[in-house]
């Protein structure tokens, strides 16, 4: 019964999405006050409620482990802890798609409920676009991946007790990225709405901005967490492999970063109108493309993920429909949008334009590198593209962008002179040169890490310069957000460059009692003992490690064998200090009783993820700042209206 309620709610929601679409179309034809057009907002709100019910029903069948529902029987088990029963609801294809439409419909309900800045017609067109996008996903769910499908005979027990997937990080990681993707779908709907009604205004950018910021924060967190997870779990010592699944989350992030900055130009200065719309379309395309690459398994990935080629082609169809449609609309309408305000090249806008162009170029580089194996496969040539391509080619655009990032925030809007900020620029350049000399000449670091270290230091200092001469208490929260996000990027860059420049590795075969060293660490393999867990056995290598002759620490990396399902994993051990991490992995034994041990000392590597968290924190602060300003403006507008009414009454 519960599953049927969920399914019925889903069908009703799909019907409301049709109504929402019809409402928007009616608004364009017959005007915003026609009967059907007036139903657009209520339809969106109701749709959000219905999908929330459907998702709640899915959680319910998982919570009570209703084994007559196919999805539950396939992915859950009565013996699982409740938290993993619930997270199992979206830890599979059908459930994750339902989660996607749930977030999407709730976002639609939210804008329908509270967004009043834009003209009604634009809002209706926006909601219609939102309904149209949602409709594709409803069709996908209801026609090809129904999460509420019943089994003819209830199963006796569920199949899903894979202990590897009972991990809270894995339970939270995909939804984080989905929130990001959905946020970009809202930005896309706003862009379509504004384009259709020829209403590309600063208000449009202000309405869209919180959604971009929110999506961007979730994507940042998702990428940061995913990178740490790969670093820790794969046991290869790397944190980023330029793997298609990783690129699938990086590309929307790059597009969202560009969109964020161009929307802020549009909101503050009414320039870059067409460009902002274009980026809105591109950012959503990248999230659809990311979903397609991940879901279809068309490209090989080191990240294990549920894969299904047929569903991939459905997503590809949706991708072509939305993006093709949006680009067509863009081509037809972009010419009718009038030019925005002018600005000189030495201005905040000028710097942001350069930033946008550089980000787009990096996006193009990553996109081409990711899709290249698919292209060559059409000619029956199999290639793979990795760091030797991505690192240097993206660096060509990353470093100019970082240089602009150091200067841009110092400039004024509209028109400024270089001489006004010459002191700050001189300081930044001096820092950069000193760092280049120290690391290049004295420590002989290779080119890319050398540039990384030097730019990170210069940008790290430069990102605080916009605060100079200001009373810190009166700096708006959104400006703090910018400063912290830029600083976070410098911190992450420092971590990456330091990891690449100063890491040391030791690969050794050790007998029990033998010693070795890696960087400043002394390592002794004390004993290798078998251990057993609930569903695995392992060889655990007990090692004593000490940093620079300090107090010894005992660690126990393992090589684990699971039996259900049969699987072998390396359990690496990380010893974190303020200045870096020791990374230890144990392999197999050779015939003479020695054990393979792989050790890395990675100075400052943790800064990569702390930097990512700072970037996300910056985004959160900016979001809080923007929403607060908006609320204040609303209150002021309401008070003003009330006063005017009073004045009228008096007179």
């Amino acid at each position: 019964m519960i599953a049927e309620i969920g399914l019925a709610a889903l069908w009703l929601a799909a019907a409301l999405a049709v109504l929402q679409l019809a409402g928007g179309l009616a608004a364009l034809r017959a005007g915003e006050n026609s009967d059907i057009a007036a139903l657009t907002r209520p339809a969106a709100v109701l749709q959000g409620g219905l999908v929330a019910i459907a998702f709640a029903m899915l959680l319910w069948v998982f919570a009570i482990t209703d084994l007559s529902v196919k999805l539950v029987a396939m992915n859950s088990h009565t013996a699982k802890p409740l938290i993993f029963k619930l997270s199992g609801a979206w830890g599979n294809h059908e459930g994750s798609m339902l989660l996607w439409v749930t977030v999407m419909a709730l976002a639609g309900a939210l804008i329908a409920g509270i967004e009043r800045r834009l003209p009604e017609k634009t809002m209706q067109a926006t909601l219609a676009a939102q309904g149209f996008v949602a409709l594709g996903f409803y069709a996908f769910l209801l026609l090809s991946s129904n999460p509420f499908e019943r089994l003819p005979e209830p199963a006796l027990e569920g199949l899903g007790l894979n202990p590897l997937l009972q991990d809270i990080g894995l339970a939270l990681h995909p939804p984080t990225l989905y929130f990001g993707y959905v946020g970009l779908s809202v930005a896309f709907s706003f862009a379509v709405g504004a384009l259709v009604t020829r209403n590309v205004t600063p208000d449009f950018a202000r309405a869209m901005r919180p959604w971009i910021l929110g999506a961007w924060v979730f994507l940042t967190l998702g990428i940061t967490a995913g990178s740490y997870w790969a670093y820790y779990e794969l046991g290869w010592g790397g944190y980023w492999f330029w793997d298609p699944v990783e690129n699938a989350s990086l590309m929307p992030w790059l597009a969202a970063t560009a969109l964020l900055h161009s929307a802020s130009v549009l909101a503050s200065r009414d320039a870059l109108r067409v460009w902002t719309i274009m980026l809105g379309v591109v950012a959503f395309s990248m999230s659809m493309l990311g979903t397609f690459l991940v879901r279809s398994g068309i490209l090989t990935s080191v990240h294990a993920f549920a894969v299904d080629p047929e569903r991939g082609s459905f997503i590809l169809f949706l991708l072509a429909l939305y993006i093709g449609g949006a680009l067509l609309l863009f081509a037809l309408r972009a010419g009718t949008i009038s030019e925005g305000e002018r600005f000189s090249i030495a201005s905040r806008e000028g710097a942001l334009v350069v930033n946008n162009v550089m980000l787009s170029a990096i996006l193009a580089v990553v996109l081409l590198g990711t899709l290249y194996p698919l292209l060559t496969e059409a000619f029956d040539v199999r290639v793979s593209v990795g760091p030797p391509y991505f690192n240097p080619v993206s660096a060509v655009f990353v470093f100019p962008m970082l240089a602009v990032m150091a200067v841009g925030p110092l400039l004024r809007w509209r028109r400024d002179s270089w001489s006004r900020v010459s002191k700050e620029m001189a300081l930044t350049v001096a820092l950069l040169l000193v760092a280049l000399v120290i690391f290049g000449v004295v420590s002989q670091v290779a080119l890319l890490p050398l540039l990384g270290l030097s730019f990170a230091i210069a940008l790290g200092v430069a990102s605080f310069l916009p605060l100079r001469g200001r009373s810190l208490r009166r700096v708006p929260i959104a400006v703090w957000g910018m400063v912290i996000a830029h600083f976070g990027l410098a911190v992450a860059l420092l971590g990456m460059a330091s990891e690449s420049a100063f890491s040391t590795e030791r690969l050794a075969a050790l007998a029990e009692g033998e010693r070795t060293s890696v960087g400043p660490w002394a390592v002794e393999l004390q004993a290798v003992e078998p251990v057993a867990g609930p569903n695995w056995t392992a060889m655990a290598a007990r090692m004593e490690v000490s940093y620079d002759g300090g107090k010894p620490i005992e660690i126990e990396p393992q090589s684990r064998n699971f039996w259900a399902p049969a699987q072998q994993t390396t359990e690496s051990v990380l010893v974190t200090r303020w200045n870096g991490q020791l990374y230890a992995v144990v392999g197999s034994s050779s015939n003479d009783g020695r054990w393979q041990v792989r050790l890395w000392w990675k100075p400052l590597v943790t800064l990569i993820w702390y930097g990512g968290l700072l970037v996300a924190l910056g985004g959160i602060l900016a979001l809080i700042g923007r929403v607060r300003t908006d609320l204040k403006r609303r209150t002021a507008a309401r008070k003003g209206a009330a006063r005017r009414l009073e004045m009228e009454k008096i007179s």
Partner: protein, 153 residues
């Protein structure tokens, strides 16, 4: 500068940067993409010494040997026909790397004809098979690889 001119300049700037990025990318891809070789291809038409490529095939039974240093292993990768390429790898063998199963080795050919692998990709876990191994249905290595990766598709 008029607004219209400014827009034109911006559009041109963006186009130049993007086309530049694309050209640079295509140029770099031709040089940096790592090509995939089967053992027989590598024997018939070997890549330049030192060029980063990948080699995929089956680990010949009985060929896996650990050198005295305890960390370097050598084995032979075989394909169809009697082609066999010797491979040397220093490092921890991937999970589920066994003789008689499929492997993709990333690395380069050394002057002595040995393939120096930096990285080995075997059946990583239940959900991951190197893509190249999925397609090698014609020859023996693939049959073996399929047997060891049964039930994955």
């Amino acid at each position: 500068m008029k607004a219209k001119h400014q827009r034109l300049v911006l559009v041109l700037l963006a186009i130049v940067a993007l086309v530049g990025a694309a050209l640079l990318a295509v140029y770099a891809l031709r040089n940096q993409a790592s090509y995939f070789y089967l053992p027989e291809q590598m024997q018939a038409d070997p890549p330049a010494v030192g060029q980063a490529v990948r080699l995929g095939g089956m680990v010949a039974p009985g060929s896996l040997e650990t050198l005295p240093d305890g960390i370097t292993v050598t084995f032979t990768v075989t394909g169809r026909e009697a082609s066999a390429i010797p491979v040397r790898y220093a490092g921890i063998l991937p999970d589920l790397f066994v003789e008689g199963s499929g492997v993709v080795a990333e690395g380069r050919l050394a002057a002595d004809g040995t393939f120096e692998a930096d990285n080995l990709l075997a059946k990583h876990d239940e959900n991951y098979v190197p893509r190249e191994l999925q397609d090698m249905s014609e020859h023996q290595a693939a049959e073996m690889a399929e047997e060891t990766t049964v039930g994955l598709e």
